[in-house]
């Protein structure tokens, strides 16, 4: 259970932008990031918008904007993740669960979308199995995305992303604006996948759901990895947390002390 699936070392992401005229300037997105996700583990990456957590996902998937410069190394199952290797593994061994259900094709029945990339001989059978697994009625396969509710679309997204061959799942903010029950359902699916041995990289700004589902929680701020803490340490007053930033972050939650630094509420 301890084989590393994804290893990111010394990752730097920077952007070249046009400042004025023909002059350019460089912006840092991620600086010197090291991270590892092991088999069967859920690693949560938390951070505010602009902390670089979404860039991390894009760097792994090779979908950064074209003006981005990337240095450092990303290894998948021990081998360097090159552009050619990405083409072979994306959608088969590496899966991406996007932020929004608008990533589904509005003009294609959802069943057909789930069958994309499956072995044509067994695709229908496999799709029915996935539908059953995610609690979707088999009749729903013929429906278009606009005919399904938001919750059902989210399950379809999972069904399109998950294959038997998958070893790594990258979930980018899979729970934005969802109410508690829907969040719990998404997290349950992630937990099930991890139990099957899949490595899950969960990117989110929701500390509470990150802590409830992950083993380890990586905290990012301003493009840097501040600390990686065991999820179990995010409890009570957070005294078990090693890094002061993680402690402040935990204590600042309204359900905890709602404090800033040492300053208490009221």
């Amino acid at each position: 259970m301890n084989t590393p699936i994804l290893t990111v070392s010394e990752l730097d992401v920077s952007f070249t932008q046009y400042a004025s005229g023909l002059r350019t300037r460089t912006l840092t997105g991620i600086a010197g990031l090291n991270i590892e996700v092991r088999e069967g583990e859920i690693l949560a990456v938390i951070g505010a918008s602009g902390s670089g957590k979404t860039l991390l996902a894009q760097a792994i998937l090779g979908i950064l904007p074209r003006n981005a410069d990337v240095t450092g190394e990303i290894r998948f199952r021990g081998e360097r993740l090159t552009a050619a290797r990405r083409r072979r593994t994306l959608g088969r061994e590496i899966s991406y669960i996007p932020q929004s259900v608008t990533n589904l094709d509005p003009l294609m029945p959802v069943g057909e979308q789930v069958r994309i990339g499956l072995d044509p001989k067994t695709a229908h059978q496999e799709q029915s199995r996935l539908f059953a697994r995610y609690g979707l009625a088999s009749e729903a396969a013929r429906l278009y995305p606009f005919e399904l509710s938001g919750g059902m679309l989210r399950r379809v997204l999972f069904a399109t992303s998950v294959r038997d061959t998958v070893r790594l799942i990258i979930a980018d903010e899979p729970t934005p604006g969802l109410h508690a029950e829907a969040v719990e359902e998404v997290l349950r699916h992630l937990r099930e996948l991890a139990a099957d041995g899949v490595a899950v990289l969960l990117i989110t700004h929701d500390i509470v759901s990150a802590v409830s589902v992950a083993e380890r929680v990586a905290v990012m701020n301003g493009g840097r990895l501040i600390t990686v803490e065991p999820a179990a340490a995010f409890t009570g007053d957070g005294d078990g947390l090693g890094h002061p930033f993680a402690r402040d972050l935990w204590r600042a939650l309204p359900q905890n002390r709602f404090s800033i630094g040492g300053v208490e509420w009221h």
């Binding site: 046009y18 023909l22 979908i63 904007p65």
Partner: protein
């Protein structure tokens, strides 16, 4: 997925802007310098020099009254430029005011302005222009107003559409909540945001204006025949083409074409840089 933008076409467009801007600046400088420094004596009729072909002394040849054609073309282009700036400016201001008012002042004002735009588009261009020029009484005011009042519609429609997109923006709702008037919002919030659009509109209008000025004077609605306007040069030169004196019409025509194309290209490139979505660079 977030949209990945490729910056290379935009960079290329930026270089193009620099190139076409330099071309236009060079042309304009030549015309203005020529206008200021060329000797006016070359414009006096001289029967000894009638209808000479192009030579070193008279690069564009001379006309049927023995006047130096190059000097006349430069003076004509200078006049065109002056009229062009004035007319395009007036037209841009009309577009900005009407476009912003239509989008910002509610449904009734929008209805009236849209009706006005449709009406103005519906009337044939050239006829409307000639009528206007005639009403004002010819000369520079006639030409300027005639062209300005017939060229504001498409830019006004663009401005109106642009402002409609931003009028419900949160920062404008905030401004209203803070008690700011529509005039304040139009001048301080909306105008700076549509300024690039207006700039492009102005530059793109310029070649149109110059061509129409030439057309109006060519047709005889404009200046007295002594004025060295490009349109008058062309209409004087046309009858001589058949008798082999091609330079009288071709050279002024080419000079006009160069200036017009220079501005058209510049406007096009500037638009690409400011808004890469509207063109494929």
């Amino acid at each position: 997925m977030s949209t990945a933008t490729d910056h290379r076409p935009r960079l290329r467009a930026r270089r193009d802007v620099v190139v076409s801007l330099s071309t236009v600046v060079l042309l304009v400088t030549c015309v203005v310098a020529g206008h200021l420094f060329l000797d006016d004596t070359a414009l006096r009729p001289n029967s000894a020099l009638r209808l000479l072909p192009p030579s070193i002394g008279h690069p564009f040849g001379t006309d049927h009254l023995g006047r130096d054609l190059f000097t006349r073309v430069v003076k004509g282009l200078a006049l065109s430029l002056g009229i062009g700036v004035l007319t395009a400016a007036i037209s841009t201001v009309i577009s900005a005011v009407l476009g912003i008012c239509a989008a910002l002042l509610g449904r009734r004002v929008d209805g009236v302005i849209s009706w006005l735009i449709d009406l103005s588009i519906g009337i044939p261009h050239l006829i409307f222009m000639i009528l206007l020029a005639f009403t004002v009484g010819g000369g520079i005011p006639g030409i300027v107003l005639g062209i300005a009042f017939t060229h504001w519609m498409s830019l006004a429609l663009l401005v109106r559409a642009d402002v409609k997109q931003i009028r419900d923006a949160e920062f404008i709702l905030v401004a209203r909540g803070l008690g700011r008037s529509s005039l304040f919002i139009a001048c301080r919030h909306v105008l700076p945001l549509v300024l690039p659009q207006l700039l492009v509109g102005f530059v793109l209008m310029f070649p149109h204006v110059i061509l129409h000025e030439a057309a109006l004077t060519f047709l005889g609605f404009g200046f007295s025949p002594q004025t060295p306007a490009i349109g008058i040069l062309l209409s004087e030169g046309m009858p001589h083409i058949s008798s082999g004196m091609w330079w009288l019409a071709v050279l002024p025509g080419l000079a006009l074409l160069l200036l017009v194309l220079g501005f058209a290209r510049l406007g096009d490139r500037v638009r690409t840089v400011l808004d890469p979505a509207t063109s494929n660079g």
